[in-house]
Structure formats: C-alpha cells, structure tokens
Symmetry: C2
Subunit: 211 residues, 2 copies
Amino acid sequence: MNSNVTPIRKQNKRRENELVILQAAEKVFAEAGFGGATMQLIADVAGLPKANVHYYFSTKEELYRQVVSNIFEVWLAAAGTFEAASGPAEGIGAYIDAKMEISRTHPAGSKVWASEVMHGAPIIQDYLETKLVAWTNGRIDVINTWIAAGLMDPVSPRHLLYLIWSSTQHYADFGHQIQTLNTGTPLTDDDWQAAKTAVKQIILKGIGVKT
Amino acid sequence: MNSNVTPIRKQNKRRENELVILQAAEKVFAEAGFGGATMQLIADVAGLPKANVHYYFSTKEELYRQVVSNIFEVWLAAAGTFEAASGPAEGIGAYIDAKMEISRTHPAGSKVWASEVMHGAPIIQDYLETKLVAWTNGRIDVINTWIAAGLMDPVSPRHLLYLIWSSTQHYADFGHQIQTLNTGTPLTDDDWQAAKTAVKQIILKGIGVKT
DNA sequence: GTCTATACACTGATAGAC
DNA sequence: GTCTATCAGTGTATAGAC
C-alpha cells in the first residue's frame, strides 16, 4: 500500500474534467472577453458546479492563462512547415495553408489570443518576450536566406510575417463580420477554399514567388 | 426671454464634457474591453465624478455604442479615396495609406471595433448589416470594373478587401505585440514608413498592379 | 472529490442636496 | 448642471457538509 500514489482512475477523472473545463473556458472567453466571462457561465457550459471549476483552477486568471498558453502552443506547432521547406513557394505557401486551417478549426482560440494581445497582454507578456521573439527572429533568418538566394523579392521579412498573421487570423477573429458580409451564412467549404487561394495567390505573387 | 432655448454656454459645456467622456471611454474600452471597463475608471480618466458620466450617457451600453459609432464613421470616411481614383494603383494605394494612418492615429478606436466584432457585434450588428454591407458591395463593384478593364489581376474583390483591412488594422490591434517584437520600443516614423511601404508593395504587386 | 450555501467586494445606476 | 451617498444586483472565491 502506498498512499503517496494517486490512483490512475482519479488521474484520468482529473484530466477529463480539466479538459472539459478548458474547452468551455476557451469558448466563453472568446465570446465574452476576460472581463465579460463569468466562472458561472464557464461552469454551466462545462456541465459542472461552479465550485468544481474553482477546485481545478483556483482563480479565473489561472484558468485564463492555461487557455491562452494552449492556444500559443497550437499556434507555434503549425509553423513547423517553415523548417522543412526548400524555398518560399513551399514554405510560405504551406504556412499560410496551416494558419488558415487553424482559423477554421480553432476560431475561439484565435480570438482569445487576439483579445489578450489587444489589451496589452497583461497575462502572457512573458510568452511574447521569450518564445514569440525567438520564433520570429528564427523565421526572419530563414526568409533572409531565401532572399539572398534570389528565391523571392527583397521584402521586409518582419512585415511579411505580420501580413501573413493578420490576413489568416482575420478569418477567425473577424469571422462574424465576414459571415455578415457573406449574406449572413457561414462560409462553405468552397468559400474557405476560395479564401485560402486568394490569400496565397496575392501574397506569393506579391513577394515575387513563382507558383 | 425664451425659456425653451438652452444658453449657448451650456451647450458648449455639454459638448465639451461629452467629448472628454467619449475620449476617455474609447481609451478605457480599448484597454479593458466592454466587460472589463468600469464607469468609475472612465470617469476617473475623464476627470469627472461617476454620476456626471451617467448624466450625459445614461447607461454604459449607450456610451459604448457612441464610441463604436464614432469609430465606424472615421473608418468609412477614410475610404473616400476609392471613389475619386482613376484606377487601382491610385485607389487601392491611397486606401492602404489612409487605413495605415488611422491605425497609427486612432489605435484605440480600431481596438474597440475589433473587440466588438470579435464578440459577435452584440451592440452594432445593425451597422454591419446596413452600412458596412452597402459600402463593401459598392467597392466590390469598383474593383470588378478595374479587373474588367485589365488594370489588375482577376482576384476576388471581397478577399482583397479583407486582406487590406486585416493587414492595416493589424498595426493598431496587435500594436502591443509588434512593439514587443520591435525590441520593446514604439515604432518610429521610419518604422511606420517601412510598414506602409511593405504592405503596399506586396499587395499591389500581388494583384498585378504596376507601381 | 463533489456540491450547496454563503461571505465579501465591486459595479451600474439613481436619489436627492446643492 | 454637479456631486455625495447609497441601493440593488452580480461576481469571485471559499467554507463546510457529504
């Protein structure tokens, strides 16, 4: 008998509950913002009493920080396309595809991230200063290599990255506006394909990459 | 003596107070979101007692709606460049310039707008459905004319507009992230010029416009 | 681990003296 | 028109029974 060991069943239960709370929280934070979200509503969406949410995440801020961290990881993971690529046509093209796909499948996460940054990143400023800065500088180096090799026009790598981020995330963050302009109906598969094609076409041609 | 007429001095005082409250509110709503903003903080920033804010704007929602409306008007006004232009090089180029300039001079307004749309436009949905839809459809017609005249590539006008909106507003909405990536310091005049040039260069070349 | 009941702080809004 | 005092409602967080 070892009372130091937590039974596996309880570990699973814990993870299961944490997961369902995190998913509910992402949705509620995305729809209402940090200030507008309430622990009561998160609990209701998760299907748990409010006190249980506080049992797993002691404060609202801690729960929020977990949500934003998760999004950031998804976000960075999708950028692996940059490394393996032999040139900008493949690397940037695949990166745009990956980011558009995230906007489609994780719109709530994108909105929470946007909201956090817009309000000055009070909770995850350390992420910006460490991980994001490092990732960005690495990608700038790669792009500069491509420019030096004559594979694309000599555009500012930094502003190119901003252009890619903004244009792809726009389909998640401003999805409601886009839907309203789309006669009020959600984008179909064809609509998403057209969006992806248009963004890639303009950006790739804009930086002098042959497709 | 006509007691039906409000003295001019009081009218001016009213407008003056309303203006200072609206400016304070724009700042606070941008930094904290609708839910995170408090009437007390808005009053403090405006330098007035909280009750006075309620005297001019009876509810928080009414004040917020005024703020968002004002931004929308600024935003639409800047798009007049489209009409007068003889072609895409001039029209779209000037539109990008104007939108970048708004991001620089009215970042708080842009953030409030973004926040409102991200949360499903609960307050200004009617604006989206009427004014924004009308404006967008009008601009799509103009772009289609340019395409038909062979002045630019046959890109989707709708997605081109989204690309312009997202890439320019990004410098306001994600200004904090950009500043963090810029070694923590605000963008200089040269930085802004470089950003404007990069965005215009990539988009104009990307749609096949000679510059 | 789970859940009910509740403490405590804060917010939007208003009443009423000036 | 201005401002202090205050109310009613709601939010986060926790205590304590199970």
